[in-house]
């Protein structure tokens, strides 16, 4: 049963229900076999044989549960849609809209985290970590002396927070970690294209110039997330994430009027692939380390 549980990768409430149902099933089967004259050990062995491959059973059950409803699909793609609208309709210039977004993203992330970590949570969780990163970057622009404070205090704390949330997410399912990190390469791509670090004085103008395309790239991410939630098979889900990463980075390179050089584009592609696929390796390592994937 542990092996089935390890491979289920469902949210906590669904997992508990599936495991309870399977345990009851096996108890009934054991009882019947013992009544038929088998010893405890023989009955247990027969049960294991009848169950077959725990991995296969878990995969079949996972695929029956993994397709989200249309409501969950909308909820999961919502943060990308909202970020797309923020830029497409130029709401990003109003501090009010930004604050509303921040409160909404944080509230949804906290609510989802404490309510069984369903699939729709992870896009919200990804965006909720953005302010943590942005605050760290802003602290680096503080006057001399203060920036050291940021490096010594804030950045280690922020890195620890990002690391622990990513590991917790990987323990739930590495695909959700990739789903959470999905907008990161696109955001970095636009950050480089807008050249915030190179010309801090003019980045707002360029952001305004690129805003419709930024909106479009987030819309592409929303479509990818919706497809991810509706698909059943894990390999298809992973493929959708990678393809959407490639499409949005290509959009960044195309619409950025040559501001994103070819080497930078290629580095971003490699970084995107590593970011989206490395959680699978981390999960394997965590399992080998003897940790349970579901906490």
């Amino acid at each position: 049963m542990d092996s089935v549980r390890d491979n289920l990768r469902l949210d906590l409430s669904a997992e508990r229900e599936v495991i309870n149902e399977l345990e009851t099933h096996i108890e009934d089967e054991l009882q019947d076999l013992k009544e038929a004259g088998l010893s405890e050990e023989e009955a247990a062995n027969t049960c294991v044989k009848l169950l077959g491959s725990a991995k296969l059973v878990a995969r079949q059950i996972y695929e029956a549960h993994s397709q989200g409803t249309w409501g969950q699909t909308l909820l999961a793609s919502m943060p990308h849609l909202l970020f797309g609208l923020l830029f497409a309709l130029n709401w990003w210039r109003g501090i009010g809209w930004l604050l509303i977004m921040l409160v909404l993203v944080l509230s949804m992330a906290v609510y989802g985290w404490w309510h069984g970590r369903p699939a729709w949570l992870f896009p919200w969780l990804g965006y909720s970590l953005l302010p943590v990163v942005a605050a760290g970057l802003l602290l680096l622009y503080l006057p001399k002396g203060w920036s050291w404070l940021a490096i010594l205090l804030y950045i280690p704390l922020a890195l620890w927070l990002l690391y622990s949330i990513t590991v917790q997410t990987i323990k739930r399912d590495w695909l959700y970690s990739s789903l959470m990190l999905l907008p990161v390469p696109t955001i970095i791509g636009w950050f480089l294209a807008v050249e915030v670090a190179k010309f801090p004085g003019h980045w707002l103008e360029r952001l305004h110039q690129f805003a419709p395309w930024i909106g479009l790239s987030f819309l592409a991410l929303a479509v990818a997330v919706a497809t991810f939630i509706r698909l059943r098979q894990r390999w298809l889900k992973a493929t959708v994430l990678v393809i959407s990463g490639l499409i949005t980075l290509t959009m960044v390179a195309y619409y950025a009027d040559g501001r994103l050089s070819l080497p930078a584009f290629l580095v971003l592609i490699i970084a995107m692939l590593s970011l989206l696929l490395s959680p699978a390796l981390v999960e394997r390592k965590l399992r080998r380390g003897g940790q349970q994937p579901v906490v």
Binding site: H25, G52, L56, I61
Partner: protein
């Protein structure tokens, strides 16, 4: 067995609906009942049954309810819904038509 599996693919949901339509049942009971009534033809495994139950439940045709037994054990019983009953009537008539048509083709022609 692979050929039998192909034949069963399209009929699993109807079989479940038909059994649960007669009385609320739990997973293990469904497997036993299918095996008994089909004289060993339908042998479902956990990996087939529970995903199928989930699929039918998602379609709103059945609903699973946990029930506490006097022994303290909890069991999930599946009940048919109104939508499920309506679908079952439709499926039954489709099956009848299908069987009649199949028999007309398969049975040897009497000269």
């Amino acid at each position: 067995m692979a050929k039998r599996g192909e034949l069963m693919k399209g009929s699993t949901d109807s079989l479940l609906l038909c059994l649960i339509g007669q009385q609320p049942m739990y997973g293990y009971q469904i497997i036993k009942e299918l095996d008994k009534r089909s004289q060993g033809y339908f042998k479902f495994k956990e990996g087939t049954l529970y995903p199928a139950l989930r699929r039918v439940e998602r379609a709103g045709l059945i609903v699973g309810k946990w029930q506490l037994l006097p022994s303290g054990q909890q069991r999930k019983y599946y009940h048919i819904t109104d939508k499920g009953r309506y679908t079952l009537v439709e499926k039954r008539s489709q099956w009848q038509e299908f069987l009649v048509a199949m028999n007309l083709i398969i049975q040897p022609v009497r000269v």
